[in-house]
Amino acid sequence: MNAAVIVFPGSNCDRDLAVAIREVSGRAPTMVWHGESELPAGLDLIAIPGGFSYGDYLRSGAMAARSRVMRAVVEAAGKGVPVLGVCNGFQVLTEAGLLPGALMRNAGLSFVCRPVGLKVENNQSIFTNGYAAGADITLPVAHHDGNYQADAETLERIEGDGRVALRYTGEVNGSANGIAGLFNPSGNVLGMMPHPERALEKAHGNQDGRRLFEGLLEAVA
């Protein structure tokens, strides 16, 4: 799998994501710095990592979404290249307009850092085909701004179109409809707050994130 991981100042899950991709696909991704205006040719996956890009200044993901490399990411996404945004990456994707809605401060105001229960709502995608429909999985979250909000009309549309990829099974951060992961209309962009790359190897104590990368590999290979 020919993958790229985008790196912003303040990203801190970029290496974790790179290790996960290498572990599953056997090929290390290209690390692409935020100031680049071009992406490597022939990409099968663009991954936007978690962290605190630009110190979360102004709003989480706001600065990163306007960085030079994101223009290339938006263009590639429009051409159908798979884009996965995890945690801060999800925030960047909403700020860049690739996904609707916004991720706001957690309803309880606390930074939430723990494993959470999730339901795979839609497994008919390049990202989720490795899971059974309706599968209950556990993945770690670690965020302060994971409270997904969108207006009623948008929520109705994304629910009606089956664009909710993952839903929290319990209360985590106040997200509307418990939304934890969301597809774009064509299904080649996924933003998710939980960290699949932190539940990959035996040593993690949980390997529920592995099938996301394995399913993706199978879909793009």
């Binding site: 102004l58 709003r59 706001a62 306007r66 909403t94 700020e95 609707p100 809605g101 916004a102 706001m104 401060r105 957690n106 309803a107 309880g108 105001l109 409270n147 909000q149 969108a150 207006d151 106040g174």
Partner: protein, 76 residues
Amino acid sequence: MKARVFVTLKPGVLDPQGRAIHHALEGLGFAGIESVRAGKLIELELAEGASDADVEAMCKKLLANTVIENFRIERH
């Protein structure tokens, strides 16, 4: 030339920070607060010739997330 941009959450958007401030004020003994909403003030020092349309474009492109926030511009 200065511009002040006030960024506020749209009505109806839940504001957990405003609610926490509300609780803290009540904890200090201040009564009679109906609600608290927290926002941002951004001050811009502008060169001569920067138009109102320029500042509005800045708000729409970066300073406010119009999905959840409104903005108001004051010129001085």
